[in-house]
Point group: C2
Chain length 185, copies 2
């Protein structure tokens, strides 16, 4: 069975981030054909076209990691009804330089995770708009809006709710099929 | 006549940025009652809630600059059908810590500037969605979508088109009235 390398991009930099915990829960529940690497995005200098001649090492490394992946799993909190600046900057860095979009064609899925009821809907769909432009075929269904995240994990970062765990399992299994469909078996 | 301090926030870090040139053109065309300061946003560390206990100096300074302003003028390019990460990060930094949103109540206007035909529409409206959440009353009309920016300035950064100059003048005059209405005369 083919193995797929999935780059995981988490939009929150907090150590105890609910998004990071959700990423780890998904990784634990995932089918064997998927292997995961959580990428560093907090160290990427702000995109500035003037730097393209001598791009920062962090940009170069990040672009190589994206290009080497078979698929993308995005976890995003919602900041001010949109994606965090740090996540949008990662999208911008990966999309450049012009004509060398690292994201191009990679199958993706988005999970928004929030302590509130709206469950990151604003961030989830702003991110989808950007992913259209960078030509990332993003899984439609199931959508994943994880709300009430403050009560979702125990002190060891484990998901406390059976129904949420089952949903996350079905989500990552659907993502496997999506990756197979787009990236080829 | 009352004078209003306008904080100008430019979403592109390029030295020869068309957004920066448009900002300067607007400042030159503005009524006397408005005074402007272009704020630095490229040096703001990525928002990370873990840093709130000892916030970076750049965050503290930026928040003070926003709080000291009477109004906000946003210039945004479009990166991947949304606002640049660097601009979104500035919104995020200014909105925190929880309960101390620096943006609260400041009258604002948005100009999107692009070399293409869509004229930054995606960025313009993604930014509006975030500004709703941070309680920034943003001028509705006239909207400003500046396209074809590559041909808009001469070698000294001056606007070459009379009709664009007139539009920018009417825009910044409408913004003066908007600031007076919201901030009080």
């Amino acid at each position: 069975m083919k193995n797929y390398k999935i780059a995981v991009i988490v939009g929150s930099l907090r150590k105890e981030s609910f998004n990071l915990k959700t990423a780890k829960a998904l990784i634990e529940l995932a089918p064997e054909s998927l292997s995961f690497e959580i990428l560093e995005i907090g160290n990427l200098p702000m995109f500035n076209e003037d730097l393209e001649g001598t791009p920062p090492d962090e940009w170069v490394k990040f672009r190589e990691q994206i290009k080497a992946s078979d698929g993308l799993l995005f976890l995003t909190p919602e900041y001010n009804r949109s994606v965090p600046g740090v996540l949008k900057n990662a999208i911008d860095v990966g999309s450049r330089p012009y004509g060398q979009n690292s994201w191009n064609g990679k199958p993706a899925a988005i999970v928004s995770v929030s302590i509130g009821n709206i469950s990151g809907f604003g961030a989830n769909h702003h991110l989808r708009q950007s992913l259209v432009f960078v030509n990332v075929p993003t899984m439609a269904q199931p959508e994943a809006y994880i709300g009430g995240a403050g009560a979702l994990f125990d002190e060891n970062g484990k998901v406390t709710s059976d129904s949420t765990r089952e949903f996350l399992k079905s989500f990552i299994e659907a993502f496997e099929k999506w990756v197979q469909t787009i990236a080829g078996q």
